[in-house]
Each structure stands twice: as C-alpha cells, then as structure tokens.
Amino acid sequence: MNLLNPSVAVDPIHQFQITRWIEFHPGGIDLSFTNASGFMALGVILTIAFFGIAASKGSLVPSRLQSMAEIGYGFVADMVRGTAGEEGLKFFPFVFTLFFFIFFANMIGMVPYAFTTTSHIIVTAALALLVMTIVIGYGFYKNGLKFLGLFAPSLGDMHIVGKICLYSLLIPIEVISFFARPLTLSLRLFANMLAGHIMLKLFAGFAVIGMAVGGIGYLVTPLSFIMAVALNALELLVAGLQAYVFAILTCVYLSDALHPSH
C-alpha cells in the first residue's frame, strides 16, 4: 500500500480495494489470502486473544480485563434471553460469535488504513444467510410443519370468510417480509459500514485537498477536518451499534424459529 500515492489519499473507494496477499488457487478457484482475509483473521485473533486471556484466570474477583469479558458475556446473554427466551440460550455461542466477529471487524475498520471486512456485501450476505439457514433449519427441525404457522398468525375468533380474506393478504406479506430479512440484514450492515467509511474518507480528503489548493481551500480544510473528527465519533457509534443490531435481529429471528406462533 503506497500511502503517498495521491489516488490512495483522495479516492474514497480505494479503501475497499481487495489485493491478494498470498496467492492460492486450488482447482482453478481463486481462494487467495487477501487483505480482507488478513484483517478478518486479525479480528478473529484479537477476539480470541481478548476473551482467551480474560477468561484464562477465572478468578472470583475479576481483573479489569476479565470484568470486561464478563460484561460482554452478560450483555449478549441478556440480549438472547430477552428476545428469544431461556430456550434461545442454546444459540448463545452462535450469537456471541456473530456479535463479536462483527464488532471487532467494525472496530478494526475504524483504524486508519485498516480494511473493514464488513464493508463487503459478500461477507454480510454470507452471515445473514447463515442466520436464515439456521432459523429455517432449526424451525423445521423443532416445530416440523408447524413452523409454517409463522406465515399465518392466528386470528382468534373470526368468521371463516373474514379469515380467508385476511389470510390472502397476510400470508403474502409475511412471506415477503420473511424472505426480505436476509436482504435487509446484510444490506444494513454493509451499507452502514460502506457509507460511513466513504464519508470519512471524503471529508478527510477534502481537508487534504483544501490545503493543497490554497486560497479558499484554507477555509475548507478546518471545516472538513472538524467534520471528519465528528464523523469519526459517529462511525465508532455506528460500528458498535450495527454489530448490536445484527446480533439482536438474529435473536429475534431465532425466537421465531423457537416460537413460530406469534
């Protein structure tokens, strides 16, 4: 990465560029270890290191690090219990992994020159599809065909004609909303990370260009710089929030698989 290359300095899209670090082409398929894979691995290593070190002592009176890990544990456990109930806790490791995978990826992305793995739709889509696969798979495994009751919420006491009319409206809506879930789930995270980083880069780029242009540019630079700083704070919030949103929506969907009749 040539940091002095002007295209790197101002091009807001360049940060999403994927470059091969280690070539790997088994059977003609390009499975190279790229910068995306590298930063993803970094996130995984950091997560494991953080929780591994924090959990290793297991002392009754926790150190600060252990306390942080326990707070994270309690946070995700409460989230799962709150949305999916006690039975939802069997998915706790999955939700925990998901939350911290995304959280660390987003946070690493906030470091200048780092790559944001969650800014690629293929990653977020894969995660969303994984969630939906688990929801559908577990839903049918646990409830059998009753899982389809998810699309036909009970209407209580009602005349048969009214029921038919309502269901003919309700069922398509429910089906569409269900299949829109992986789309919204993946797009929300992807678009947030992408747009946020483009904005950051744009304002930071304006600050640099302003200085380079001179004249009125000296006015642009401080304003852009202030904006970039403010956006940085906002993006930190978004990075945490989007991980939380992804995890809690996963819990909500899992709750549907556990209790399909609303």
Partner: protein, 183 residues
C-alpha cells in the same frame, strides 16, 4: 467556486491514476467472492469453535462459581447471624436469670435482717420494760418508805408540837389524825 476548485484538484489528482485503474466499485466485483467466502467460513468456524468449546464454558464456569460462592457466602452469613442472635438471646436469658437471682438473694437477706432486727428490738424492748418495771417498783418502794417516814415525822412532829402545848395524845390517835390529814 469551491466545488469547481475541488473538482479541478480532483481531476489533477486523477491524472496520476495508473492506466489499469481498478473497476469502480470493489464490493460488487466478483473475482474475490470465492476467496472471501472461503476465508470467512474458515475464520468464522475457528472463532465459533474456540469461543463455544473453550472460552465461553470457562467464562460461564467462572460466573457460576462466583454466583455459587456469593450464594453460599450469603447463606453462611445468614447462618452466622442466626447463631449470633441465638447467642444474644441466651445471654439475655441468663442475664435476666442472674438479675432475678440477685433480687431474690437480696430480698431474702433483707427479710432475714428484718426478722433479726424485730427480734432484737423485741428483746431490747422487753429488757427495757423489765428494767423500767424494777425501777418503778423501786421508786414505789422508796416512795412508800418515804411516805412512811413522813408519817412518822408528822406523828413525831405533831407529838412534839402537842407536847409544847401541853397536850398529850396517844400514839394511835396521833397516827389516825396524821393519816386523816394526809389523805
């Protein structure tokens, strides 16, 4: 004008872009998708397995151990508190008993002393009474003696006085006269 300037500078910069400029939008490129999926699958699995097999059980163990410990500590504290309360009650009971006993003892002593004092007072009173009686008797005796002497003196005196007047009277008459006068 500002925008024009920025556009100009951007154009100036873009002149430096290499000819084989990358396609405009990397997230929608397809060549890296298999590799992304491949590494995501591997890394996510590693993270999931490590967390769910090793780290989370340890964390939950620690949390459980701590809540157990806190619960048992609270139990023990409650038990000790009960014991302390019991001990306090026993202490109070024994204090009350001791106080009662002390009151009884002092009461008994007081009663005994009262009885002794009454007996002593009675004895002393009786003694005094006896002494008074003897004294009274003695006084009465002395007085009778004195009176007898007075009578004798009166008789003698009367006899002498009568003798001066040249009158003689018998002793018995004199005595009768004197005792009549004395009464």
């Amino acid at each position: 004008m500002l925008i024009a300037l920025l556009a100009e500078s951007a154009a100036h910069v873009s002149e430096h872009l290499p000819d084989d400029a990358p396609p405009p939008f990397p997230p929608f490129e397809t060549w890296h998708m298999p590799s992304q999926l491949f590494w995501l699958a591997i890394l996510f699995s590693i993270l999931y397995l490590t967390l769910s097999r090793v780290i989370l059980p340890k964390l939950s163990d620690t949390l459980e151990k701590r809540s157990d410990r806190i619960a048992s500590d609270i139990d023990q504290a409650a038990r000790l508190n009960d014991q302390a309360l019991e001990a306090q009650q026993a202490l109070e009971l024994r204090l009350a008993q001791a106080r009662n006993k002390a009151r009884e003892t002092s009461e008994k002593a007081r009663q005994k002393m009262d009885v002794e004092m009454a007996a002593e007072t009675a004895r002393v009173d009786a003694e005094i009474e006896k002494k008074l009686d003897t004294a009274d008797a003695r006084i009465a005796g002395l007085r009778a003696d004195a009176m007898k002497n007075v009578e004798q003196i009166a008789v003698d005196t009367a006899d002498v006085i009568l003798g001066r007047f040249g009158v003689s009277a018998s002793k018995s008459e004199l005595k009768k006269a004197v005792s009549a006068a004395l009464e």
